[in-house]
């Protein structure tokens, strides 16, 4: 059980990353569980009286620079070098945190299907990831990409959110692209004719937002190894852009700071080869008392930088709120 960071996933599919600002955080860590404990679902948590953290989060790319990068990638889209690309921004502060307390408070307000928590000597990860990248049982495999985010307000419900997404051509196109890309990635390792869209464009509800989601299934080819699955599916396409390889190359030449865990995958591999992995988004990495929250949203031909910049903030907000 553990995680692959972004860099190691690039290495696996032979995509190079030029020299970036490094924090020396490990590229991936896996643990062998000694004891497995099932927790009661109705756990009650009484938050501690914590000291407010005064250190405000600093963002590494401001709106001006974000717009510049955005315009550059829009040109690349016009030339056909990429169809959709996700610019990553990072929020950082210096903070000594009690990770378990943070995680418990986060799950109380924002229980996500792929949430996880790691506490080790030098680092902790607190995550409310909503996105499942791989569920593999026997020869069945599925993935559940998210593409499309809508901020909640008092007038919106699930049905209205669905209507919004359906009518919004930009969100629809972005989502379509991801569905075809995930079908493709599954097709690399699945038997022809078995890759099927089980749920097409549905809405899921979270604390601050609605997501536009699809579910795609397949049956694995014989003799597919664990590493083949990892290489076909990771890094998860919905958080990178499309097509994957050329878009990764564009991203890696743009981003000056390493992504660390962000857009990597956390999960487990059983001894029988079954596995489950998420995509590491909506996560805090606290390493040597520096907290880092990364977010990204997509540049497609008809997106605009202000909206995407704000969408990034919406995505980070639930995590930043924990520090208040």
């Amino acid at each position: 059980m553990g995680f692959f960071g972004y860099e190691i996933l690039n290495d696996l599919i032979k995509v190079k990353i030029p020299k970036q600002k490094e924090t020396n955080f490990p590229k991936g860590i896996f643990y062998k569980p000694e004891k497995i404990i099932n927790l009661n679902e109705n756990l009650h948590y009484q938050p501690k009286k914590i000291n407010k953290i005064d250190n405000k989060f600093k963002i590494n790319i401001d709106i001006k620079n974000y717009t510049k990068i955005f315009d550059k990638f829009k040109k690349k889209i016009k030339k056909g070098e990429t169809y959709q690309i996700k610019i990553c921004t990072k929020y950082r502060n210096k903070s000594k945190i009690d990770p378990l307390d943070y995680f418990c408070r986060l799950t109380k307000t924002n229980l996500a299907p792929e949430a996880f928590f790691i506490k080790d000597k030098e680092y902790s990860i607190i995550s409310c990831s909503p996105e499942t990248l791989i569920i593999k049982k026997g020869n069945s495999i599925s993935t559940k990409p998210i593409a499309g985010t809508l901020k909640k307000n008092s007038k919106l419900d699930k049905n209205k959110a669905l209507n919004y997404f359906r009518k919004n051509i930009k969100e629809t196109k972005e989502h379509n692209m991801i569905v075809d890309m995930e079908r493709n990635d599954l097709s690399r390792i699945c038997r022809p004719g078995t890759v099927k869209i089980a749920k097409e464009k549905i809405v899921e509800e979270y604390k601050d937002l609605f997501h536009y989601v699809s579910l795609i299934n397949g049956k694995l080819n014989k003799n597919i190894k664990t590493v083949d699955i990892i290489k076909a599916m990771m890094p998860g396409g919905s958080v990178i852009g499309c097509p994957k390889i050329s878009t990764l190359n564009l991203l890696n030449h743009q981003e000056k700071e390493e992504r660390n865990i962000y857009t990597g995958s956390f999960g487990y591999i059983k001894f029988n080869g079954d596995m489950r992995f998420n995509i590491i988004i909506r996560s805090i990495l606290n390493y040597r008392n520096i907290s880092e929250i990364s977010v990204a949203s997509g540049v497609v031909i008809d997106s605009n930088p202000k909206n995407e910049f704000n969408e990034n903030f919406i995505k980070a907000k639930a995590l930043i709120d924990l520090y208040k």
Partner: protein, 185 residues
């Protein structure tokens, strides 16, 4: 055997799966094409991919070498690659279609599909064919119902076919049928 030449696209394996319904398919990266597979293949398929045809001189070379010797199919970038090799200009379009479902209309020059038929198809392209394009035996057989942009061509003499849209996309209704027709033409 169908040999798919992959231009590092995130849709190529959808193409491979669709073609696998009809024949044995092999697929390699455009930079690692295997000569004996090329020679064994009955059909060569140029996959979709990022960028423009001029970025893939190796694929152009293969096209020119195997034209008239094998059935050749191009999808999206592959469609443009073939036309580029035939002397066409491939240019940026004003409106860009990525993940877009639109209607294409079959015209009278098609020998495989009935004129007037409309298909709902998935599109992922920044570039398009610059027209007029007039090369012997190449007919533009489908066009975007709205913009009129070239969406497919047929060369039934040399058995060369291309789709600007993606027959393998889930956005294309009856994509299997489109592929079946050009494979059995």
């Amino acid at each position: 055997m169908i040999y798919v030449i992959d231009h590092k696209d995130s849709f190529t394996h959808n193409v491979v799966h669709q073609l696998s319904l009809f024949d044995h398919v092999e697929c390699d990266d455009f930079s690692k094409v295997n000569k004996s597979k090329l020679n064994q293949a009955d059909t060569i398929v140029f996959s979709p991919g990022p960028g423009s045809p001029k970025d893939y001189p190796l694929s152009s070379k293969i096209y020119k070498k195997y034209k008239r010797k094998k059935r050749i199919i191009g999808i999206c970038l592959g469609f443009q690659q073939i036309l580029f090799c035939e002397g066409a200009d491939i240019v940026q379009q004003n409106k860009i279609y990525h993940g877009f479902q639109s209607e294409v209309l079959v015209n009278k020059s098609s020998k495989l599909f009935d004129a007037g038929t409309k298909f709902k198809v998935g599109r992922y392209h920044s570039l398009k064919l610059k027209e007029p394009f007039d090369v012997e035996n190449f007919d533009i057989t489908m066009r975007c119902a709205i913009s009129g942009a070239a969406m497919s061509f047929e060369n039934n003499i040399d058995k060369i076919y291309g789709f600007q849209f993606h027959p393998e996309s889930f956005l294309t209704i009856n994509g299997k049928l489109l592929i079946k027709k050009i494979l059995s033409a």
